[in-house]
Point group: none
Chain length 287, copies 4
């Protein structure tokens, strides 16, 4: 199977590297061509454009940072869709909204090709270790034929049904993450406000049934009210909360806590915290 | 060391059982005497009243459900305090507000006794397995001498400083737990409501940075909207949320998310779910 | 001046009736033709389509329930815009989002016509009594020429500037109304729940600085938890809350109380109360 | 009838002044004696203590800001109760919780005196104009005999039944007021944030079914985000919200909107706005 891989950022480079190491025939393309060199060194072929990459590949994989970046490699005369034809597969592993995915699916189908959205959970380390969680949705036939490829990039791979479901699952996942961080921040605010040592609260939490890596990772910085590295920007998380609430309204599901948590995230945005890590919501919570 | 144990509910029974199994000499008392029988079967002695229990014990442990229950066994002619004297220890493991603890400490001190508040994190299973987290605060001398006893009931034991601090820490801990369960329930509600398989959401959460034992334990039943065993009754958790909000008001700390989550717990209480596990808040969230 | 009137629901029928009574030449159209009969009985002419209505009228007024309904009568071969031409006016009195209004303005301008959005505050009774508040925005020239028409439907008529402003003002107005009714409902719930006579609460409110006609009108039925006539359907009010929150997100304004109130309205929708008056939010508040 | 009046804050001073102007024989006492001077200038007598005031008066009226303040003038050797005896009346017009009122009633009854709680709705202006709403509850006999006095302070006077009911009614009333002001503030914030003229929003509101004197009075200053005279201090209003939520918890009534509104008031307190008018909650709402 010939694979095309577009989007060689931190995540995409690691994922494409794993495919090459597994012996797959991989063609690559990236807007900044210098990102392609290490992969060519590992045996990858360079394509002239997303279109020619898609023309030469059985399955074209894209791993872009935003819906706008997805569109920039997907659309136009030299885009992926222009290179698709009957029997080929288009596999978008970017995290985008359900509407963008459904548009991609429609465009692929118009060319007789198959489509799969397959956003991932996990960042640089799991990408390098091929231990990502991959949430796939769309054409089952493409999922089945791509599974040997996906298994070289992730350790947990799930098929979620029709196109859009993976985007929706990502929203539910992010809603829970924001809720947990908000709860942690309010707990720390209460502890600190009432004269307790908030690092002891973190110890208590970590010794019980709620112990989790995210609290261990972000808790100490929240407690210290210090800046910390941006794993996922707050402004993107607030967008996901908005999309989650919008989806909830469409399906008639009240979400009282999430609605309030979204307002806290909006307040953080209004205070200029949008580029910081999404844990910076703690800044509007701690007085 | 002779131990007295008062309050043989779900938690207290399991904790007293562990003390008996560890070979301690334990005298018990409970308002409903039938709860005492299994412990007497394991070698415990029955006391006639909290007072006589305290008179015969070196350390009197109480594990009550509410501040009112603490007062009912502590005060009066036949209460614990009436049986305290110089050198004895009064160790209250109930989750109560700081004011109640400080009153208990004052009453113990008036009799020349020592006081320690030592509420626990963890519910039925950790109580049975002696893996509770125990947050102790008050008289350091009693903490040091009681440590061998506490170590038979919990695996993480912390000293938090002055009386009241453990009560406050417990509230912060429970606030975070309720927030996490509410976030999980809203995530599941959104997933289920938008046609996703909510057990797949649990898989996604469990494969990432937010994976935690509580979600693994309670998630499947929330997703199935089924009854499940009561580890910690919802009505007691709501009481803790109320106390947490009260403490937050005293120290001038707004807690927007927790205030909303408390209303969800109140709505669950109003629907008659008070005796169920505190995860039953999901019943008012899922439409 | 020849007037066309499209959209003969509760509000539109009353407003068109007032125009007929004032002696205007009115042509009408409605999706369900039976709603036209009473107006034809009062002298209105029936149009074959929105297009032919717009062709025959100097000013075409639309009073639709949703943005989708606005589009359905505006667009397409038989839509209002197809019948517009230079010099004609298109006056949309529906409550829609600013984007819909700006699209309508653009379409009208492309045909050389003028556009005015003019949503109203007030429901059935003020519509019947011609005492609506009319918030107009868009082409000032059309506002000036339409004023004699608007004055037969409303008693307070304001010009708010550029297209979109009236839509936004309507949302702010409805946000306040929903907040007031929710506050009233929670006050009544607290009074009733604690054994007070909730009609005495209404008396107290009506004797002070917060006395207002809406409380006098809707309060007794909320207190009695009885059905009452639908002045403005709850489902439309929830839509306005959603649009208000959407606008607030766009401009970076947190609205904690409104976000929670929207969830109460969503809960009412989920309980099947969408067709009832928007005061029926009280049904989900009173336990 | 000889009247004693204790508590000469903004409200109490205005009310006592009206009693003096109506020709009543009034003795006064206040913790800070300088507040007594204007009333002495109008003919009031100064008492040496709450006790001696109560000994000399037929009816002792108290108008304190908090339950703690009520206790401080009620209890102890020099307190009101110490001066009560058979046939005298104790009329507490402070806004306090039902428990405090019931304690006051019990203490009065133990001395053979009658008790009436009679909190008011309305702030500085209605107090000055004698147009307060007075909600009385307790001993009907004292209500009947005090009516001529109450009528010189309020224009609407209601008897609500057993002691505690007036306290509860006041909380329900204040809950509605806070909800209305919060809704108004969020509406103004949305209007201003999206480029509208917020004074036009006030016009719209004032032209419809929600028109009310409080919006007319406080709306322009909220819209201007300016300081304004303190009619009722925010910190006291937040206390009432807290008591309302506490009462709601006792009777099992969820109040989602009020819980969120209380957090906004707490945030205002945390920003040091406690001494400003309760409309200053707008300061934490408007970004």
């Amino acid at each position: 199977m010939k694979i095309g891989f577009i989007g060689l950022g931190i995540m995409g480079s690691a994922m494409a590297t794993n495919l090459l190491k597994a012996g797959f025939n991989v063609t690559v393309w990236n807007r900044s061509i210098d990102k392609c060199s290490p992969l060519i060194g590992l045996g990858a072929t360079l394509a002239a454009s997303p279109r020619s990459l898609a023309e030469s590949a059985d399955v074209t994989i894209a791993m872009m940072a935003t819906p706008a970046a997805v569109q920039s490699v997907r659309d136009g005369d030299e885009g992926i869709v222009a290179g698709l034809s009957a029997g080929k597969g288009y596999l978008d592993m970017s995290t985008v909204d359900a509407d963008t995915s459904m548009k991609s699916a429609m465009l692929a189908h118009e060319k007789g090709a198959l489509f799969l959205e397959a956003p991932v959970a996990g960042s640089r380390k799991p990408a390098e270790d091929a231990t990502l969680t991959i949430m796939a949705a769309g054409d089952r036939e493409l999922y089945d034929s791509s599974l040997p490829v996906l298994e070289k990039m992730g350790k947990k791979i799930m098929f979620l049904g029709e196109t859009g479901n993976a985007a929706r699952m990502k929203l539910a996942n992010n809603l829970v993450m924001c809720g947990m961080l908000t709860a942690l921040s309010e707990g720390i605010a209460l502890a600190a406000g009432s004269g307790l040592d908030s690092s002891q609260l973190l110890e208590v939490l970590d010794s019980g049934a709620v112990a989790n890596p995210m609290f261990r990772m972000k808790g100490p910085q929240i407690a210290a009210n210090r800046d910390f590295p941006t794993a996922f920007p707050l402004k993107h998380m607030q967008k996901d909360l908005r999309l989650a609430l919008q989806l909830a309204e469409e399906v008639g599901q009240p979400l009282f806590a999430t609605a309030t948590i979204n307002e806290l995230y909006k307040a953080a945005l209004a205070q200029g915290l949008g580029e910081q890590d999404f844990a910076a919501v703690s800044r509007v919570i701690m007085k």
